[in-house]
């Protein structure tokens, strides 16, 4: 598998570290239902068979966290962007 890093260009998967579901949003710790929302955020997964938004860290390259859209049935890379709500100034 190869991932087209927006900074480094297309690279072999062995340069990247996988974290998983990119849907993770760290809940507000100060709400009443924080415990439940943390459990869901940290432990539960959609785990779809099909397009999956996921996080890869280019650990052997530019050290950016990337959000990759990949089909879990075919391993096709469908899309990619720098992860996080706001991208780094120079990324992409």
């Amino acid at each position: 598998m190869r991932i087209p890093c927006p900074y480094c260009g297309e690279r072999d998967v062995s340069e990247f570290a996988y974290l998983g579901d990119a849907g993770y949003v760290r809940p507000d710790p100060d709400t009443a239902d924080a415990p439940r929302r943390y459990v869901e955020a940290v432990y539960l997964r959609d785990n779809p068979a099909g397009p999956h938004e996921e996080l890869w860290f280019h650990s052997q390259g530019c050290r950016q966290w990337l959000q990759v859209r990949r089909d879990t049935r075919t391993h096709e890379i469908l899309g990619l962007r720098v992860a996080g709500p706001t991208a780094d100034p120079e990324a992409g």
């Binding site: 297309e10 415990p35 943390y38 650990s59 966290w65 075919t74 391993h75 096709e76 890379i77 996080g84």
Partner: protein, 1005 residues
């Protein structure tokens, strides 16, 4: 070489170099062949028909094919530590001094399946072992299984370290062409002419594929000349790479998925660099693994001829028709003098023509079809062969080698013919395995009665016989089109105009899978001895899907993957169950499509170079001091520094510890992870990633910090030093350095991108040395001079400073892992060697000693400091007695989930110290705690020892451990249970987890 030496060698022709005779050994006898031979062709030339024994029935077997699909002619190649079992003689290039042995010949003595098979073979039907060997219970493992294990398997591995080297290489190209037969050559040339960057891989040592084995012409001249012309033109392109002896074994993902056209794909290939030599030349590997990234690929791997299942179809001397033509035309070998051909295809007839041309007496041509093409019949007249149309071979005779065949003609009359060779042609199976590696399924073709590629992986085209286009004419045109299309899709357009003319060919195929009137065993898997009866039994017992059939009968699971015969079994099953072959299921192939040496996948990463080794800047100095090194993750660290006369490592460690505690010691701590943290929000960032507060840490101070995972368990611990406003340097444990940095980048880039903070790893930048002991301050004063004042007032406990030491940027931290008055001095790594020598020199008069990991460990246990043994990913801050570091004044990673009942349960094991009542009773890490008098059961398990050591200061064994409700149990006597290492339990007292200088006075004086 005289003809006598090679009785079956044809006196002229062939693509062998008769000027270069090569001697070789087979089963301890000497023979001679020619350069250009394979081991199989050389054996056949020497009149050897029987080359091995079958797996289950130990029947004599000979050469069936002339390619990698060979199921029978497997040998042990080479000797000693280079012995290679199961090597296919049909693709083994002959070299001078080659040594080979037949395999599986004399079964083991214990249970000689070979010997009994003749009379007991009726018992050894598919899956017989599932139905028996169950009684008496103990006999399976004691008797039956060992016997089966000894009898099973084929060749013997060398059992010794592989002496040869392997390499890996990445390759990149626009168009990868797989196979250099007519289609592949045409494709490669078409792509190259358009300016594409081309890689052409050919499994054989000659380019040309079938053109080397057949008598055919292109543009009116001999096809072999065409091959040489194309080869020469390809070689003239700078951007074309031809890889001979290279098998493309797997199709893997690139950016493209299973079906999308755009993007790249990764192909795995193995280049047999030196397998055609007695051993690899200096600096050359045996094999090279290629990882080829291609934007487009053309699969032109040809097709494999399949056999026909009839009684005794495994007799040595029975060969695929295509193989016969290979041996006759390419290798100038005559497989038999009196020969016959059994075919259900037009193609099979060509074997008769070639054999006759080569001087064999063709006794008969048996065509299962009632009315073969008139043109062929006309051509056959010249050979004088008798035609049996609408007839079938029902039995092959001759256990040591074919002596004759019995045929049944259209009127069901049986005739026995005396022949010593039979060419069989049952049709062609396209080599489409690569096209199915990413999950694409082939479809059934009623035209050629075989599976052909259907939906293809994106970017992959298939051309020629691999697509079921069996004529040379189609191969040339399809190849050229595929190569041109691939290049043009990528925007290349150059001189086109490849137009090659080839003769018409009759290529009709009629399905003939199994001869119902067969007498004797009809094999559908030669190597695993699967017969038509086994297929019938599987059907009877309900193993009817292709996968069940395969798993129950082991059909197609041998080294040849059933390429020449498994489809016959599917056909038999479909006849028995009234379902079409397609309905039975299409077995998708998985990599590798040809067996690949495990060494090739490993490449150079073996032995001491299995993984890279990290060495600190002080490594050389430590070696000079007599260090014994130990692996710590990727690093090598000094474990201890033994001195002459020391009885054992314990004596060494005792000396080092005492020296540090009484004078001063020097330890390389460069391996700790170091992260440079800068930004206006650096303090805020640290507050969120550490459980304790850092925003209150003044410049010039260091603080210990605890880091949790979001799930509330401890991830790592370390210190962070406030060097200057908005600038910190964090230290992590050696083991977690990389994971922590990734964790921090995740927090910075994803959780809080709004913070102005930036991270840089400076682990490599700083060589860092701990100087510990009562005399450490004096040592530093001597080493640093007036570069920095280290008086207790100027530089108190937990102080840090950046300064210049002899003009070199340096850092000093007053922190202590040993519990002594201690400092850590850091310099840029290129000065690390000089610095450690300077420190040692400065401390010489003070009796400074270098100390290693082991002494560090003893001292940190004496102080109850933590390492990976305690930070094992399942402990909480509270477990480790650090509940106070869980700030309630701020948010931090792990805060919420750390409050779950399972993590706050008071019964959780808590960190304690233990001391044996008898100070000399060893306590070892990994031992379990039990209350006195309680039997050793899991229910009574009270926790375990995390770290233990003998303390020379307390003159006693001491240990840290996690004990259930530990904090409430100080003073209690419990026992230590360590059955895997000691028969008797040790009684210990539970104490606070700090044994030495509990008040910490030494740190601050």
């Amino acid at each position: 070489m005289s003809e006598a030496a090679q009785p079956k060698r044809i006196s002229r022709g062939g693509m062998i170099d008769r000027a270069r005779a090569l001697s070789f050994r087979f089963d301890d006898r000497d023979y001679t062949g020619y350069a250009g031979d394979t081991l199989a062709s050389a054996l056949l030339a020497n009149g050897i028909r029987r080359v091995g024994r079958s797996f289950k029935y130990h029947r004599s077997r000979g050469v069936l094919t002339a390619g990698p699909e060979e199921p029978n002619a497997l040998v042990e190649l080479r000797t000693g530590d280079r012995r290679e079992p199961n090597t296919r003689a049909t693709v083994t290039e002959l070299f001078a001094g080659l040594e080979a042995r037949s395999q599986n010949r004399w079964p083991s003595l214990a249970l000689d399946l070979g010997a009994v098979s003749s009379c007991f073979s009726p018992l050894f039907v598919a899956g017989f072992y599932y139905k028996t060997f169950m009684w008496p219970k103990s006999f399976w493992e004691k008797l039956y299984e060992p016997a089966i294990r000894r009898a099973a398997g084929l060749g013997r591995a060398s059992g010794q370290p592989d002496p040869d080297g392997y390499e890996k290489s990445f390759g990149f190209c626009d168009v990868l062409v797989i196979g250099a037969g007519p289609a592949g050559l045409a494709a490669a040339l078409a792509a190259a002419r358009r300016g594409a960057r081309v890689v052409l891989c050919e499994e054989d040592f000659l380019l040309g594929g079938r053109l080397n084995a057949e008598r055919c012409s292109i543009d009116g001249s001999d096809a072999v000349d065409w091959v040489r012309r194309v080869e020469a033109e390809l070689a003239s392109f700078a951007d074309v790479r031809i890889l001979r002896r290279t098998s493309v074994f797997g199709l893997y993902d690139g950016t493209a998925g299973s079906h999308s056209a755009s993007g790249t794909r990764t192909f795995g290939a193995v280049e047999r660099v030196s397998d055609h030599l007695q051993q690899p030349p200096q600096f050359q590997p045996r094999q090279r693994l290629w990882k080829i990234v291609a934007r487009r690929a053309v699969l032109a791997a040809g097709a494999v001829e399949r056999t026909i299942a009839f009684g005794g179809n495994d007799r040595p001397g029975i060969m695929l028709a295509s193989a016969v033509r290979s041996y006759v035309n390419r290798f100038a070998v005559l497989p038999g003098r009196r020969v016959a051909v059994f075919t259900s295809t037009d193609d099979g007839w060509k074997a008769a023509f070639d054999l006759s041309e080569a001087g064999a007496s063709v006794e008969a041509l048996i065509d299962a079809r009632g009315e073969p093409p008139a043109s062929l019949i006309e051509q056959l007249r010249a050979t004088g062969a008798r035609l049996y149309a609408g007839s079938r071979v029902v039995e092959g005779h001759g256990s040591a080698g074919l002596s004759g065949v019995t045929i049944m003609d259209s009127q069901a009359r049986r005739t026995r013919l005396r022949v010593d060779a039979l060419a069989v042609s049952g049709g062609w199976n396209p080599n489409l395995a690569l096209a199915t590696h990413t999950g694409s399924k082939p479809r059934w073709s009623e035209r050629i009665h075989a599976f052909v590629p259907d939906v293809l992986p994106g970017g992959l085209a298939v051309a020629g016989a691999a697509r079921g286009a069996l004529t040379l004419r189609e191969a040339l045109s399809e190849g050229a089109e595929a190569g041109a299309a691939a290049a043009e899709q990528l925007g290349f357009s150059g001189a086109a105009g490849e137009q090659w003319r080839a003769d018409e060919e009759a290529s009709e195929v009629a399905p003939l899978w199994f001869v119902g009137e067969s007498r004797g065993k009809a094999f559908v898997d030669f190597q695993h001895d699967v017969t038509h009866e086994d297929v019938a039994l599987a059907a009877r017992e309900g193993f009817r899907s292709v996968e069940h059939l395969k798993r129950y009968t082991t059909l197609g699971m041998a080294t040849d993957q059933g390429r020449t015969s498994a489809l016959n079994a599917h056909a038999i099953m479909s006849a028995l169950t009234g379902r079409s072959i397609a309905e039975l299921g299409t077995p998708g192939a998985r990599p590798p499509c040809t067996p690949v040496a495990i060494g090739a996948f490993a490449g150079p990463h073996r032995g001491r170079h299995f993984r890279p080794t990290r060495r600190t800047a002080g490594h050389g100095w430590a070696q000079e001091q007599g260090a014994t090194f130990i692996e710590a993750g990727d690093w090598l660290r000094a474990q201890w520094f033994a001195q002459p006369g020391e009885s054992d490592w314990q004596a060494t460690v005792d000396r080092e510890v005492k020296a540090v505690r009484t004078r001063v010691g020097l330890c390389d701590v460069s391996t700790l992870g170091k992260v440079d943290i800068q930004g206006r929000d650096a303090a805020k960032f640290l507050d969120r990633v550490y459980s304790n507060v850092f925003s209150t840490l003044p410049v010039g101070k260091v603080r210990y910090g605890l880091m949790l995972r979001e799930d509330g368990f401890v991830l790592d611990d370390g210190t962070s030093a406030h060097l200057s406003p908005d600038h910190y340097v964090m230290s992590t444990t050696t083991a977690n350095a990389q994971r922590v940095l990734q964790h921090l980048e995740h927090a910075r880039q994803l959780l809080w991108p709004d913070l102005d903070v930036r991270l840089a790893s400076v682990t490599e930048q700083w060589a860092q040395y701990a100087i510990a002991g009562p005399e450490s301050r004096r040592l530093l004063e001597q080493a640093l001079g007036d570069a920095l004042s280290v008086s207790n007032q100027a530089f108190p406990y937990l102080a840090c400073a950046e300064f210049r030491w002899q003009g070199v940027p340096a850092r000093l931290f007053r922190i202590s892992f040993s519990g002594e008055l201690a400092y850590e001095l850091a310099v840029p790594a290129q000065y690390g060697d000089a610095a450690v020598r300077a420190i040692a020199a400065a401390g010489a008069s003070l009796g400074v000693v270098p100390y290693g990991l082991e002494s560090l460990n003893v001292m940190r246990i004496e102080k109850g400091h933590l390492t990976g043994n305690e930070l094992n990913g399942t402990t909480t801050a509270a477990d480790l007695g650090m509940g106070r570091l869980m700030s309630t004044r701020k948010d931090f990673i792990g805060r919420v989930l750390a409050q779950r009942p399972g993590l706050t349960d008071p019964r959780r094991p808590a960190l304690v110290g233990v001391r044996p009542i008898d100070p000399y009773s060893p306590v070892r890490s990994g031992a379990h705690f039990l209350s006195m008098g309680e039997p050793p059961t899991l229910e009574n398990d009270q926790g375990y020892v995390t770290s233990a050591a003998f303390s020379p200061m307390l003159n006693s064994w001491i240990a840290l451990g996690l004990l259930s409700r530990g904090r409430e149990r100080l003073g209690e006597r419990i026992r230590i249970h360590d059955p895997v290492r000691s028969g008797t339990d040790v009684e210990v007292e539970v104490v606070a987890p700090v044994f030495f200088d509990p008040a910490g006075e030494r740190l601050v004086t």
